[in-house]
Symmetry: C2
Subunit: 188 residues, 2 copies
């Protein structure tokens, strides 16, 4: 039944997200994912082809969700950074997966099409806002986007030692640091 | 002979830095490190005790080097960020190791003493410069330090897809983005 197949696929993706988030691509174990999803390795290979393609499926799903829930507003980049921050707070695994991806796929010559498209769309939105004089043009669009993304991820990139020092800060305070910092970049 | 022991230890640390940088803590293989260092697994356990403690030794060595080569100047944080950027350009493995550390030791209750000391020292330097009125006090010292570190690492945190888009930027241009962004944060 197609319903069963969809349910199995979803359970596998959910289990894979946990496993990849905890152990990365190389460290993830397909048999643990299968067990967690009450499935088996054969089904994983049937649905996804390989561990790497399963990771891509999880990662694409996350990017799609993030894109859908956080559309860019180039005329209000501080709030865009704040919304990205909210997403990282709500789904901590997103940043962990993105970081594993970066470490383990560094130098890869197989970029994910969806990410290329997502980046291109955001860069265009920023370029248009700059052209329309709505935001300063002192940074190249791609560079400004990199700054906004990096600042929005400020609190997810902390070492354990650092996290201990800032753990007393509230989510609202952390969010304000992010939005203030992006606003400061945009001042002339 | 002590000279031989020192040379072996150094070769093991160098080989371990490469291996951990490429594969992380879980993914690193002690036998590859031993082979690369023309040594053997018994010597690794003799000198370092375990794979985890070998990682700590590599990581401590890097932090010591970074601290020694990049002392903080709290009255010129843009240039401090620029010097951190220079370090990341010169030793790309530093950021990779720091990122593996963060991912694989997240939630660890065994913080590295040296990092705690290094952070505390930097926070004190920033607090003093703020107290002396040399830099704005709008961010808490620990938060300002986090912002400076995050911005200095702007270019090391890119996904492969993103890196493709910015690969045409020169090192001098990338450095200027970092120092300009930190300067913008410090404006009133």
């Amino acid at each position: 039944m197609p319903g069963d197949a969809d349910a199995t696929r979803k359970r596998l993706l959910d289990a894979a997200m946990k496993e990849f988030g905890a152990y990365g691509i190389a460290g993830a174990r397909v048999d643990r994912i299968a067990a967690e999803a009450a499935s088996n390795k054969a089904q994983i290979y049937h649905y996804f082809g390989s561990k790497d393609r399963l990771f891509d499926a999880v990662f694409n799903q996350l990017v799609v969700r993030t894109m859908a829930e956080t559309p860019i507003d180039a005329t209000d980049l501080p709030e865009y950074a704040g919304k990205l921050f909210d997403g990282f707070e709500q789904y901590p695994e997103v940043q962990r997966l993105a970081t594993w991806y970066r470490l383990e796929r560094a130098g890869s010559d197989e970029p994910l099409e969806l990410i290329m498209q997502s980046n291109a769309h955001k860069v265009e939105a920023i370029a248009k806002a700059q052209k329309d004089g709505l935001i300063p043009a002192k940074y190249e669009p791609i560079v400004l986007l990199a700054l906004v993304l990096q600042l929005s991820a400020l609190w997810t990139g902390l070492t354990p030692e650092y996290a201990m020092l800032v753990s007393r800060t509230s989510a609202a305070e952390r969010r304000k640091v992010v939005t203030d910092a992006v606003a400061a970049l945009l001042k002339d």
